[in-house]
């Protein structure tokens, strides 16, 4: 390629073309270098950096970013929150390791296990909403007439065994998946290995899209469901069963008890944030996320009890 260019240069008005070429190359290299230096990526951060792991639904709703930013502005705290959005299972594991120091999760069953191992400490149960069972509009398993979530799951099981339906599971030990597993346990059924039981192993958005494409039933939290529906990504599914008892979904704030998180600055900010979360944070949730997330304010004792029941449900 260069050979051709050089030949060209020698054949026609050699000198002029050479000069032009040199000019172009040098100008563009200067341009590139200037550009690169001007936009040098930031490889350092402010003094106090706190790693946060969170469940994906809270992050994708935007609620977590809102709360953390409002906290920083309101209390003038100089801190950088780095957020890792994963399923609750991984979020709790990272917290227990000390790889992250704060975590926001919604899997009481798993949370209890880590608490019992002494690796994490709960600072607050700060929000709740519901899980809902969604599925094809025609509702072949007829779960909208079921008495509660357990019966709905039984109906899905038997209808699927007859080839009338499918179920998509998160399969990733996220908060949603853990609740789903608890429900199968209570119903005394095991869908594991069945051809109609599909484990996506992915986040809630992808799982819902998969269920939408396959016209299958799935369990989801109401915030993600409404968000995706409003974005027009779900066409074939409808909300079929609610159950404020078995399908209550509580969000909690945890800190790590790992020595990596024992620095006094981190502990300070943790308690400041807890105070914020249960006062001004509650109002923020009520204002901006009504319908998707509800504040717990005033009912802390009740939710603590509900959390314990959910954590031991099996």
């Amino acid at each position: 390629m260069i050979g051709i260019l050089i030949e060209l240069m020698h054949v026609r008005k050699g000198k002029a073309l050479q000069v032009v070429l040199v000019l172009v190359v040098s100008l563009s290299s200067v341009g590139v270098i200037y550009f690169a230096l001007a936009h040098k990526p930031q490889f350092t951060q402010s003094r106090v950096v706190i790693m946060v792991s969170t469940t994906t639904s809270l992050y994708q709703l935007g609620a977590l970013n809102d709360l953390l930013n409002d906290f920083k502005n309101f209390t003038h705290t100089d801190v950088q929150f780095n957020i890792l959005a994963r399923g609750s299972g991984e979020a709790l594991r990272l917290l227990a390791d000390g790889a992250t120091c704060f975590a926001f999760t919604h899997a009481p069953f798993l949370e209890l296990q880590y608490i019992e191992q002494g690796k994490i400490e709960r600072l607050a149960i700060f929000a709740y909403n519901e899980f809902v069972i969604v599925g094809p509009r025609t509702d072949p398993a007829n779960i909208s007439k079921a008495q509660n979530a357990i019966e709905a799951f039984k109906r899905i099981y038997y209808a699927s065994e007859m080839g009338l339906a499918k179920f998509v599971s998160r399969g990733d030990f996220s908060g949603t998946h853990v609740r789903e597993l608890q429900l199968w346990m209570i119903a005394n059924l095991s869908p594991e290995g069945k051809s109609w039981y599909l484990k996506s192993g992915q986040g809630i958005a992808q799982t819902l899209i998969m269920a939408d494409n396959l016209q299958a039933y799935t369990l989801t939290d109401v915030g993600s469901w409404l968000s995706l529906k409003n974005q027009g990504k779900i066409r074939n599914l409808a909300e079929l069963k609610r159950d404020p008892g078995y399908l209550l979904n509580t969000y909690s704030f945890y800190i790590s008890k790992s020595p990596a998180c024992s620095a006094s600055e981190i502990q300070d900010i943790a308690h400041k944030f807890r105070e914020y979360l249960m006062s001004r944070g509650q109002d923020l949730l009520a204002q901006r996320y009504s319908g998707s997330l509800s504040p717990v304010k005033g009912r802390e004792a009740i939710f603590l009890q509900l959390w314990e029941e959910l954590a031991q449900l099996r």
Partner: protein, 215 residues
């Protein structure tokens, strides 16, 4: 909530260019050493070839175990920084650079050795220098292959980098994040940016290389 593609791209380029450069240097040294004898090649080459196929997630987990708070290298405090990604991508790019270079080095060594011997000398240093001269294009190509592998990998960047907005978010983690949120179209768009940037870099480096060699 999402960063502009421009800053993500520049970050990707910085991290992967440096990581693959490190892999290139080390791979060159390794290949020069291995290509000395057929025995070495037959023994070690398959190992590197197999390592090319290690899932990047596995490499990412390996680096996580080293850097996590209970790991041996936790005092470096590199977890969830761009430097952790650089280290991981260095490991990802190394096997493929070695595999690419070793065979070429060996055949070039043989022909150069014949030539030099036929001219009456047997100096290993001269042979090595001539081999490097002869193989400049191969060196360039192997750096580009290492670079492509590094910039396109996801497992390491996600696990040890975390994909943190404004800090360790690179093109591949941005694609993964958008995909997990169901924004498939935007994810494809970022993917096209990744492919075009990689191609442009490869073309430019190749051109520059040819120009230098031509002179």
């Amino acid at each position: 909530m999402t960063e502009p593609i421009l800053s993500i791209t520049i970050r990707s380029l910085y991290i992967s260019a440096l990581a693959s450069f490190g892999a290139f240097i080390v791979a060159t040294l390794i290949s020069l050493h291995i290509s000395r004898s057929k025995k070495y090649i037959d023994m070690l080459s398959p190992i590197f070839e197999a390592l090319v196929g290690v899932p990047t997630t596995v490499i990412g987990l390996f680096v996580y175990v080293l850097l996590c708070p209970s790991g041996p290298l936790s005092f470096l405090k590199l977890l969830y920084t761009p430097y952790a990604i650089m280290f991981g991508e260095f490991l990802v790019a190394l096997p493929i650079a070695v595999t690419y270079m070793v065979r070429h080095f060996y055949s070039a060594r043989e022909s150069v050795r014949e030539l030099v011997l036929s001219l009456g000398s047997s100096d290993e240093k001269i042979i090595t220098m001539l081999v490097l001269r002869e193989l400049a294009p191969v060196l360039i190509s192997s750096y580009l292959v290492a670079f492509s592998r590094a910039i396109g990998e996801l497992g390491v960047a996600l696990i040890v980098g975390g994909g943190i907005e404004g800090y360790t978010n690179v093109l591949t983690t941005a694609i993964a994040l958008q995909t997990s949120m169901g924004n498939y179209e935007y994810a494809i768009w970022i993917g096209l940016v990744l492919i075009s940037i990689t191609m442009i870099i490869v073309l430019i480096v190749k051109l520059l290389g040819e120009y230098v060699i031509w002179k």
